[in-house]
Amino acid sequence: MMDRWFTYLLIGVLLAITAGLFFSLLRAIRGPRMADRILGINMTGSLTTAAIGVLAVLLEQSWLLDVCLIYCMISFLAVVVLAKISIASHEEQEEFDDV
């Protein structure tokens, strides 16, 4: 009896996360600044991590949580690399403008 309610709950959470994913992707596409795009990517990564976690519980597949763990590490790495690249390219542009 309760299993059915747990399934409904998890599907509801998954739908809400999907809506959130849409809006965070929209933020990443619209910008307007580079920081907004990176924030959008960061939010998308976090929501995807949550979605994988919910799926792991819903489908009763604990190995999906390993994917979830790796995904949040890669998401963090992507944000760090994008921010570093953006800072470096801006500094390079400033040096070029000075010359």
């Binding site: 709950l9 959470v13 959130g20 809006f23 920081a35 976690g53 519980v57 949580l65 921010a83």
Partner: protein, 112 residues
């Protein structure tokens, strides 16, 4: 009885997570300054994820799930401030008009 209690605790936690994620996303669209938007995005990484993952832990109640869920939550919590710090540094370094919104001490670039 115990199953019902477990369901309601998980439901309340996940609902809190979803509502705080909604507030966070709303803030990301409503605020005009990027640092404020960054603050809103940080709510999603911390409060929402803690509530959703906490709800999942209660929902499963299994030792094959809880440590992995906890590990993912810890990685998110450790990574989020570092990522926010880097994005903030990037914004200070690239935005020439940032001084109009943020008061910074002299002789620093706002990053120390």
């Amino acid at each position: 009885m115990f199953e019902t209690l477990r369901f309601w605790i998980a439901a309340v936690l996940m609902l809190c997570g979803v509502v705080s994620a909604g507030i966070s996303i709303l803030g990301v669209f409503r605020f005009h300054f990027v640092m404020n938007r960054m603050h809103c995005a940080a709510i999603l990484d911390t409060v929402s994820m803690a509530c959703i993952f906490g709800g999942l832990m209660v929902a499963t109640g299994s030792l094959s799930y809880i440590p992995k869920l906890l590990a993912a939550l810890v990685v998110l919590w450790v990574g989020s401030p570092i990522a926010s710090h880097l994005v903030g540094r990037m914004e200070i370094a690239t935005d020439e008009t940032v001084a109009e919104h943020v008061k910074m001490e002299e002789d620093t670039d706002g990053c120390d």
